[in-house]
Amino acid sequence: MTEVKFSKEHEWITLEGDVATIGITKHATEMLGDIVFAELPEKGSNVEKDGTAGVVESTKAASDVYTPVSGEVVDTNQSIVDDPAKINEDPEGGAWFFKLKIKDTSELDTLMNKEEYDKFAKETSS
C-alpha cells in the first residue's frame, strides 16, 4: 500500500494496486462537529476527480464529499451510513467512505503528503 495522500478538500486516499480507498480527514471531522448523516456514491457509478461523491451532515450543516481522483466505485462503507458517529470516532481508519478502481495513478501526484496536509490544515483553519 502506498503512503496516505491528502486533498485540499480534506479527503485522504490510499492506493493498493489500482484500487483507492477514500475517506475524510480527522481535521475535517473536527471542523464539522458531530456527524449525523452520510450519503455515499452508488456502487458501479463513475466519479470524476474533484467532483461530488457523497455528503456528510453534522448537527449544524451539510457538506459535500469530493473525490480526489477519478474512477469506478467498487465498494462503499455501509457501516458509516448506518452509524455516522463512527466517522468522528475513526475517520482515518474504519470509517472510510468508498473504494475506486482508478485508471490514472498520476492523478495522485498533485495531492499532499501528511506533512504538507497538516501544514495546510493548520493554515486554513486559523
Binding site: 462537529g33 458531530d34 449525523v36 448523516f37 448537527t59 449544524k60 450543516a61 451539510a62
Partner: protein, 367 residues
C-alpha cells in the same frame, strides 16, 4: 459594525468555545465536547446558556401601562398576577410577527425578554406606540443566564435560596451576593430551568459558581437542537413578519378573553383566521430513515405539487433521529399525513407528526 461581546465572552474563550456571529454578537456555538454531548448533558444534568444577547426591556408604570399594553399584546394583562410570565408576540396590523417574547408582570411594571436580532426594532416600535408616558429601559447593563435541565433547580437553589419555590412561568427578585437578581422559572429547551437577569460585572463569577456545582456551559448549537426537539419556534425560522400566530399554530398563546372583543394590534386578522382557518400551518415533520431536511427544503404531496417548506431541520440527539418543523397547506397538516421532502434533487418520504418530539418536563405545582 464592530461585533458585540457579552460579559461572559472571556469565560467562553477559556472553555474552548467555537464562536459564531449571531445577531451582531460573538456567541459560542459549541464548546469542546460538541453539540450532541452538550444536548444530552442538558437533558440529563444541567446546562448553562449565555443568552445575554437577548433584550431585557423594563417598562415602568401602573394600571395605565397595563391598559396601553393590552392594546398591543393579545394578552389578558389585567388579570395577570404579579410575577407571572406569558409568551406573546409583537405584531403588525396584519398580525405579522415582529418578534416573539416573554412578558412578566413585575412590581415596577413589566419586563419583556426580546430576541437579540429584533430588540432594537422592538424598542423603536414600542416607544412609538407607548409615547413618552412610560419610562422604558432596554437594559444593556444586565446579562441573562439560562440554566436548564433536571439538576438545575438543586444547583441554582444552592446559590440563590428560594428559587425552588417558583412555578414554571413565574419569577421574582432575589438577593444574592449583594445585588438584586430577577429569576424566572422558564427557558427554551423543554426542560425545567431558570433564567437569571444579573448585572454584567457579577455574571462571570456567578456562572463560574454554577460550573463549580456541576453545571456545564452549553452553546447555541445545542440550544437549537433542544428547542427543536421541544417543538419551540425560533424567530427568523418558524416566525417572521409574513407569519401570524394562527399560522404558526400558537393560538394557545392568545388569551381567550381577548378574542371576543379584540382591540389589540392584528386582532382583526387573527379573529378572521381563527374562524376561517389559515391557508398554511406549522407542523412537526419526521423524515424517514436518517435524512436531514434543512430550512428551505421544499415539501411536496404525492402528485408532485409543492405544499410547503421546512423552516428548521436537524438531527435530534435525544430522539436519535432527524426532526423538522415547517409550514404545509392546511389540508396536509393532519398528523401522519405522508409527504415528500426534496433534498439534493431527490424526493424522500416523511410524515407530518405531533409536537413536541421530546416530552417537556416543566415544573408547575411547587406552590
Amino acid at each position: 459594525m464592530e461585533i458585540k461581546k457579552t460579559s461572559l465572552n472571556k469565560l467562553h474563550q477559556n472553555n474552548n468555545a467555537k464562536f459564531v456571529e449571531f445577531a451582531g454578537y460573538e456567541m459560542p456555538i459549541q464548546y469542546s465536547k460538541g453539540i450532541i454531548e452538550e444536548h444530552k448533558f442538558t437533558r440529563s444534568h444541567s446546562g448553562i446558556f449565555d443568552v445575554s444577547h437577548m433584550g431585557q426591556l423594563f417598562i415602568y408604570g401602573d394600571e395605565s401601562l397595563t391598559e396601553e399594553l393590552e392594546k398591543i399584546f393579545p394578552l389578558d394583562l389585567k388579570n395577570l398576577k404579579q410575577n407571572c410570565s406569558k409568551y406573546s408576540f409583537l405584531m403588525n396590523e396584519d398580525a405579522g410577527i415582529y418578534d416573539d417574547l416573554i412578558i412578566t408582570k413585575i412590581k415596577e411594571g413589566y419586563l419583556i425578554i426580546l430576541n437579540a436580532a429584533c430588540k432594537d426594532k422592538d424598542f423603536e416600535i414600542l416607544s412609538n406606540l407607548l409615547g413618552s408616558k412610560f419610562k422604558m429601559n432596554l437594559d444593556n447593563n444586565r446579562s441573562l443566564i439560562a440554566i436548564q435541565g433536571p439538576k438545575s433547580v438543586e444547583i441554582l437553589n444552592s446559590v440563590i435560596n428560594g428559587v425552588d419555590q417558583l412555578n414554571f412561568m413565574t419569577g421574582n427578585w432575589f438577593d444574592s451576593d449583594n445585588q438584586r437578581l430577577f429569576v424566572t422559572r422558564s427557558g427554551y429547551t423543554g426542560e425545567d430551568g431558570f433564567e437569571i437577569s444579573i448585572s454584567n460585572e457579577k455574571a462571570e463569577k456567578f456562572v463560574e459558581n454554577l460550573i463549580g456545582k456541576g453545571a456545564q456551559l452549553i452553546g447555541l448549537g445545542a440550544r437549537d437542537t433542544l428547542r427543536l426537539e421541544a417543538g419551540l419556534c425560533l424567530y427568523g425560522h418558524e416566525l417572521d413578519i409574513n407569519k401570524t400566530p394562527v399560522e404558526a399554530n400558537l393560538r394557545w398563546a392568545i388569551s381567550k378573553s381577548r378574542l371576543s372583543n379584540g382591540g389589540f394590534i392584528g386582532s382583526k386578522k387573527i379573529m378572521n383566521q381563527m374562524q376561517d382557518g389559515a391557508k398554511q400551518i406549522r407542523v412537526g415533520i419526521k423524515p424517514e430513515g436518517r435524512l436531514i431536511a434543512r430550512e428551505k427544503t421544499k415539501i411536496f404531496n404525492d402528485t408532485d405539487k409543492q405544499i410547503g417548506e421546512i423552516t428548521s431541520g436537524t438531527f435530534g440527539p435525544s430522539v436519535n433521529g432527524p426532526i423538522a418543523m415547517g409550514y404545509v397547506d392546511k389540508e396536509f397538516s393532519k398528523v401522519d399525513t405522508k409527504i415528500l421532502l426534496e433534498v439534493r434533487g431527490k424526493k424522500h418520504p416523511a410524515s407530518v407528526c405531533g409536537l413536541p418530539f421530546y416530552k417537556k418536563n416543566y415544573v408547575k405545582g411547587v406552590n
